[in-house]
């Protein structure tokens, strides 16, 4: 049986798919925090170039991919669609599993699909330098890679705690010619303010965003703009090459997925694979679309309702585990409108519309899935990607229980070769879902027992 389905280069998608006009109930616009009105071009223009602002609000279903972007895409695209034959055997369930190998790109993830597009449109708009923030460095390295093709300067503010932990991503950025600095820095007001009070600050993603935006907005000598690698509509748009290729490749093997799966943090790789299939679903096709996320950050399944019982993921028994019978029950933290806080608005809307089903997975089961995958399919997955693999295993088990054959399509969004420290922790037994032994909890709580609550 052939494992790989290779789409010829001349079949590479020439348009991105914009799902916005197909949303059953439209998209609630974001509100500007200052004016409480939807942000207009004047609000966005100092941050993003006009072509990307137009894409952000576009109601056009198809948007042409410029030839220079396709030229760079062709370095690694179309990516292979692979039948996970060995993983299927291992699972021993009535499932066919196909995965889209997005770890095939030079930076090793799906992120360059939008990084290249953003770099191109900025260049065309006369921008000379791009700024961004990065946590683990996956996005920063993708943007550094993209900028190198369009002769753009690239400055990446990497959260210091990650900067110290993840030297190899930083070195990738530098190899592609980017400047990677540990945030907070003394080059911005936002950074200096923090360093004044805490010179050893480990930084935060919020602060790194502020530094990158400040640099973009205040740069007068070098035209500079800011780039973001997830959440925004235009970012998700650029990723749809993944799903479009997958559809063509599924056609080549004469198949169509019953279930489409991706992991979802900010939502871009998930959207990239799933939106073209969501379009089919909106038009009446039967396909289950699952967004997999960590139980430790259940943005979609539970949102900020940390103690919201009866959640859609059926996590209620776990929630009760640490109530310990004490009298304190925190109230729900936010209103319902913030339930999907942190997730891309397009995905949030599709969840509300019942097109996408979110599910959450524990840390340990995701690493177990990643190891099973590595031992059968060979590839070592990024820890985020392991959430999608955990979902594949769950769906396979369901198929077995139901005695129903299913075809699964999953986005293998990136390799984990720079995340081996996390695998080391897992293999050494350092990762647990319940990190603290009961006696330790009791000891720590004993220490704070009877203390007056601060006023």
């Amino acid at each position: 049986m052939a494992r790989k389905t290779i789409l010829p280069e001349d079949q590479i998608p020439r348009q991105w798919y914009n799902i916005t006009p197909d949303l059953p109930h439209g998209l609630q616009p974001p509100l500007h925090p200052g004016t409480l009105q939807p942000p207009g071009p004047d609000d966005l223009a100092p941050i993003f170039p006009m072509p990307l602002i137009e894409q952000e609000v576009s109601q056009e279903r198809w948007i042409d991919i410029p030839e220079p972007v396709l030229d760079v895409y062709r370095i690694w695209r179309p990516t292979p669609l692979v039948r996970a034959v060995s993983f299927e055997k291992f699972l021993d369930a009535p499932v066919k599993i196909y995965y889209k190998n997005e770890g095939y790109s030079p930076p090793g993830s799906h992120k360059p699909n939008t990084a290249v597009a953003q770099a191109y449109f900025n260049k065309e708009f006369g921008i000379k330098r791009l700024c961004t923030e990065t946590g683990a460095g996956q996005w920063g390295s993708a943007l550094a890679f993209a900028c190198s093709f369009f002769d753009l300067e690239c400055k990446v503010f990497m959260v210091r705690i990650s900067y110290d932990q993840k030297p190899y991503r930083r070195l990738m950025m530098m190899t592609w010619g980017a400047t990677c600095v540990a945030s907070p820095t003394d080059t911005t007001d936002a950074g200096r303010k923090i360093l004044e009070t805490n010179p050893d600050s480990p930084g935060s993603l919020g602060l790194a965003i502020s530094e990158a935006v400040e640099t973009a907005v205040t740069s007068k000598d070098i035209p500079t703009r800011y780039c973001l690698g997830s959440v925004l509509n235009h970012v998700l748009l650029h990723q749809t090459v993944v799903g479009q290729e997958a559809k063509k490749q599924m056609e080549m093997v004469g198949d169509y997925p019953d279930v489409v799966i991706g992991c979802a943090g900010g939502g871009s790789n998930f959207a990239g694979l799933s939106f073209p299939f969501a379009q089919d679903k909106i038009n009446g096709k039967e396909v289950q679309i699952i967004a997999a996320e960590p139980t430790s950050c259940p943005t979609m399944t539970r949102g900020p309702f940390a103690y919201d019982l009866g959640d859609v993921a059926g996590m209620t028994p776990l929630l009760a585990m640490f109530t310990l019978g004490h009298d304190f029950v925190p109230p729900p933290i936010h209103a319902g409108g913030l339930r999907y806080h942190g997730m891309a608005p397009l995905i949030s809307q599709l969840i509300r519309d019942g097109i996408i089903e979110p599910r959450a997975y524990h840390n340990l089961e995701t690493f177990e899935a990643g190891l099973d995958w590595a031992k059968t399919e060979g590839y070592i997955s990024a820890p985020e990607t392991n959430h999608a693999l955990a979902a594949v295993i769950e769906v396979a088990k369901e198929a077995k229980e139901e005695g129903k054959e299913k075809t699964i399509l999953v986005n293998w969004s990136g390799h984990g070769l720079l995340d081996l420290a996390a695998y080391e922790d897992y293999l050494a037994g350092k990762l647990t879902d319940f990190a603290l032994p009961e006696e330790e909890i009791k000891r720590a709580l004993k220490a704070i027992e009877g203390l007056p609550k601060p006023q």
């Binding site: 942000p39 935006v213 940390a306 220490a447």
Partner: protein
């Protein structure tokens, strides 16, 4: 003697925002000295974090950390852009 405020500081979990391990110490004070708005969710499987933070935070700090809606990514970007533009940027 266990220091109440730092009792759980050395525990580690994976931060889904940063994509790497962080100690509780980081999550406890990352937001200008206050806990990350997601701390209750990320740590609830490790120890009774809500109960613990209720004890060590003032009511005002708790409200600021957990009951004030935090900004979405786009809101944060717009807010930062406004702030720096008002400060005389380009």
């Amino acid at each position: 003697m266990l220091d109440v405020k730092t009792a759980f500081d050395e525990l580690e979990t994976r931060c889904p925002q940063l994509g790497g391990p962080v100690p509780f110490d980081y999550c406890r004070k990352v937001a200008e000295g206050l806990p990350c708005s997601r701390a209750l969710i990320c740590w609830e499987l490790h120890f009774p974090v809500g109960q613990y933070l209720r004890r060590i935070l003032t009511e005002e700090e708790w409200k600021k950390a957990f009951e004030t809606p935090s900004l979405s990514r786009l809101e944060r970007i717009l807010s930062a852009a406004d702030r720096f533009r008002d400060q005389g940027g380009g």
